[in-house]
């Protein structure tokens, strides 16, 4: 194919797979922080996004985001992947570009689930997730990356600080508000049931994030190397600062804090990844986590049940990162634009406009989508099901099932009790 570069294709194939891995990783990250009775449900809220948002993206989302259109929305010329083939889009096949961008839509939608865990009915959640990716994510991606007005304004968003994180944060705030707090919220202590699971998720997220940020160079280029290195440095700095803040406040460095510090550092560097130098990345990571740290402490004392702090971690982390991009962007590194610190104060203003516009649009769109879904079916599970846990009530499974008392329902015998097991069962006699 003319214009297609083999090295770029190789890197982008890998990067796409890496970003896809982030969504189940997010499920682990979130799943460890909820109670054992809701662990599967929380994991599933992320996992299903791969399917439902992935299919919606191929059929409709991609065209709304990336087909030629107006300043607000892409056209329908690419609906059902029409005309998306192996021809070059940049230096990679158009189809690969579509797949790469699809993985972003998937994880952005999954991110919102952290605000509404342990209480939402699963059917309405699936409807919300799918509609949201079309009504909110696709237009916003168009605004910044698909030829829309924020891109034209000069807003810098290397890998999605605004499109992904501010967007998910604003949607999460609205969703938490409309779903109302969990029945036990602020009445009983609700503790994470498996922090090792959260740390495994954090590790896999970080790994996948190299594909997220360095893949946003859309090729195996020097710019990708810069974004890659910054994705190493910023979360490292975020982890250090978060640990020190923890140490100063409680005298202990916590595992939940370490996981959060890494993720917020990753969020903060996302918009800046290929735009700031390595020292800038350390600054983005170190400074970027501070507002989120205090927002988390504040949120826990309020009546806002943004259960896993999507707003503080992703919304605020994305906002801080986007603004710091406007301060620390360095043309000598990125060849595109300078920030405030390098003599271009206008960039900071543009960044602020982009964040504000994205947050307002996302919040409004999320209200509409949730209200529409609520017209068809109630969003909340019954209080009794909430007490029992959503694993059993929504999925008919348990994360930590015990086989004591479990009676096998055989297809022919109906629901009759099976005969007592024979005294001797020879090994291998059961298929």
């Amino acid at each position: 194919m003319t214009g297609v570069n083999g090295a770029d294709v190789a890197w982008m194939l890998v990067a796409t797979a890496m970003v896809l891995l982030m969504t189940p990783a997010l499920g682990l990250f979130y799943g460890g922080m909820v109670r054992a009775k809701n662990a599967l449900n929380t994991l599933m809220m992320s996992v299903v996004a791969v399917g439902f948002v992935g299919v919606a993206w191929a059929l409709l989302g991609y065209t709304l985001a990336f087909a030629p259109g107006n300043a607000l929305l892409g056209g329908l010329s690419r609906a059902g992947l029409a005309g998306v083939g192996l021809e070059a889009q940049g230096t990679i096949p158009h189809l690969l570009f579509m797949a790469y961008q699809g993985t972003f839509a998937v994880i952005t939608a999954a991110l919102i689930s952290g605000a509404i865990v342990e209480r939402m009915r699963f059917g309405p959640y699936l409807a919300f997730l799918t509609l949201w990716s079309l009504v909110v994510y696709a237009p916003l991606a168009h605004w910044v990356w698909g030829g829309g007005w924020l891109g034209a304004l000069g807003a810098l968003d290397y890998a999605g600080g605004t499109v992904v994180h501010v967007n998910a944060g604003a949607a999460a705030r609205v969703a938490a508000l409309l779903l109302r707090p969990r029945k036990d919220f602020a009445r009983q202590a609700i503790l994470p049931h498996n922090l090792p699971m959260t740390l495994i998720g954090t590790g896999l997220l970080w790994f996948g994030w190299f594909g997220f940020n360095a893949g946003s160079a859309l090729g195996a280029t020097a710019a990708a190397a810069l974004a890659f290195t910054n994705t190493l440095l910023a979360p490292a700095a975020g982890l250090v600062v978060w640990s020190l803040l923890d140490l100063r406040r409680t005298g202990r460095v916590t595992a939940a804090g370490a996981a959060t510090g890494i993720v917020v550092g990753l969020v903060a560097i996302t918009p800046a990844a290929g735009l700031v130098g390595p020292l800038g990345a350390l600054a983005v990571g170190a400074l970027g986590v501070v507002p989120s740290y205090y927002a988390l402490l504040w949120r826990a004392r309020t009546r806002i049940d943004d259960s896993l702090d999507v707003v503080a971690a992703h919304g605020l982390g994305g906002l801080t990162g986007a603004l710091l991009t406007g301060v620390l962007a360095q043309k000598s590194w990125n060849g595109v634009a300078d920030g405030l610190l390098f003599g271009n104060p206008r960039q900071l203003v543009v960044q602020a406009v982009a964040v504000l516009a994205a947050a307002l649009f996302s919040a409004a769109g999320t209200v509409v989508v949730l209200r529409v879904v609520a017209l068809v079916a109630p969003l909340r599970v019954a209080a009794r099901e909430e007490g029992l846990g959503l694993d059993v009530s929504q999925h008919g499974e348990e994360a930590y099932a015990r086989d004591e008392g479990a009676i096998l329902v055989l297809p022919d015998a109906g629901t009759a009790r099976p005969a007592p097991a024979p005294a001797l069962v020879t090994e291998g006699s059961r298929a």
Binding site: R384, L388, G396, E398, A401, R402, G405, A406, I407, V409
Partner: protein, 122 residues
């Protein structure tokens, strides 16, 4: 003296503990148990395997009380543990022959009378 044994739903435990605390019942033991009390079976499916979960997770509370504390203790549990559906549990009140407090060697009535709470050591 009586031993109050209550088997309650796990999801009602926090409410039960709160009610007992309000009734000034101090000193209890609890254990996680599995049991069956006639409630509807839960059906779970794992790939091709469908199973009926006959046993449910419950919490068993054991509270040694002096006679005049039996009624408030039972009332607190009845009020807090009830959902109105099958599977809410049972309360058993058993006679107790002898009680010793291990720390002091006190017996019977003195052994089940709560001591004044001591300020926790920091």
């Amino acid at each position: 003296m009586k031993l109050v044994v209550a088997i309650v739903r796990t999801e009602r435990l926090s409410d039960v503990l709160e009610a007992l605390f309000r009734a000034e019942v101090r000193g209890l033991s609890l254990s996680r148990v599995q049991g069956h009390g006639g409630e509807t079976e839960r059906v779970e499916t794992y790939r091709g395997t469908t199973v009926k979960m006959e046993l449910s997770e419950k919490v068993r509370l054991e509270i040694g009380v002096s006679d005049h504390f039996v009624e408030p203790t039972v009332a607190a549990i009845l009020g807090a543990a009830r959902t109105g559906e099958v599977g809410d549990g049972k309360i058993f009140v058993l006679p107790v022959e002898k009680v010793y407090r291990i720390r002091t060697g006190e017996e019977d009535q003195a052994a089940v009378t709560p001591v004044e709470p001591v300020a926790a050591e920091v």
